[in-house]
Symmetry: C2
Subunit: 211 residues, 2 copies
Amino acid sequence: MAASQDVPEVVIERLPQYLRALTSLLSNGVEVISSQQLGEQLQVTPAQIRKDLSYFGRFGKQGRGYSIRHLVDRLRHILALDQTWNVAVVGVGRLGRAIIGYPGFQSEGFRIVCAFDSDPRLVGQLAGGLMIHHMSHFKEVIEREQVRIAIVAVPATHAQGVIDAVVEAGIKVVLNYAPTPTHAPRGVHVRAVDPVLALQSMTYYLRNARD
Amino acid sequence: MAASQDVPEVVIERLPQYLRALTSLLSNGVEVISSQQLGEQLQVTPAQIRKDLSYFGRFGKQGRGYSIRHLVDRLRHILALDQTWNVAVVGVGRLGRAIIGYPGFQSEGFRIVCAFDSDPRLVGQLAGGLMIHHMSHFKEVIEREQVRIAIVAVPATHAQGVIDAVVEAGIKVVLNYAPTPTHAPRGVHVRAVDPVLALQSMTYYLRNARD
DNA sequence: GTATGTGAAGCACTTCACAGCT
DNA sequence: AGCTGTGAAGTGCTTCACATAC
């Protein structure tokens, strides 16, 4: 058991994976699971699962395993997923529209409630049913809409400026789709979605590769 | 300097980031850079950059720094990015079509040359200018088209089956957009693009958060 | 008998710090 | 004088292994 800041970030990143697997098991009618079994499914060692969970409490029963239903509840609470989060999308080009239209966020409790762009020709139009606001109204709109998460889908050249602006407006969690390294102050969490980087690192293994 | 298998995967994952930053610098007319300066730009320690590069050779000049032009060439070679890679997309639903239409792959040397789906109603139609083939012809088509990379954009329920099939056909590099954990044999590299997982881990920090 | 929770050990990546080159 | 390349030291995550609980 530990205070928030003690938990390694790698651990936090694994919890949603555990949660997803457990939710799926539950919907298949499984009620109890051991760290061994869950580990096989996720390709993780049982010790790692037990250690990860131990940062937050003692959720298992020795000799039996974990009650999936109970563990799901606890993980959802730990990750603050036992509530709906409102999300703003910045950039409504091709990518931004795809993000707004993607049903996978909504179904997991992330509700995209407003969209922004800096192009005045787009402002006032609709994108996926959402009114497009100008970036100059960002702070005002996200406060009204109670948004605490921003998704950035602008060209690489604009990404840092947009991140600066959303941080200035008080946003602490950013999902960045722009293919560029970015910087944010301490206490702001930015994660990148960058399929090109992922491909570019894997081609390394095709280099000589008969492995 | 070391053999391929000795280089930690984390190092390989950083190289494309270095490459991207260096390419950008070069196009801005910068010719030489120190590990210190590059580190500042990428939020990485200079020692880490030097150590990472040292796995592959000695590319710098003591007292001066690195010739960006030279380093870009070497990194592109190390990562096997000094060639074009043909890519297959499996799944031409909404997401698959967005991937096919995304210009960011093409511009980095990843050419999407064929598309597959298991829905017979889609087979024979076009998606983003590409003929949609049935999965039953996967091996035949990728061999003809010289494809060694697959992008999987099918529903979670089908992802493992599709990955099994593409691996069976000889694919060693997979970019998986399906929101589900997957397994592949040793020697096959699968990376996941999973924005929902990224958001779900960041909400942890919004839990108590005035940090 | 079976599986958790956890200190301790192990391992791997990161950072230091300095010799060596320009 | 400045900056790389790199063994050595440091750090932090992972795995072990066993006492403990059911």
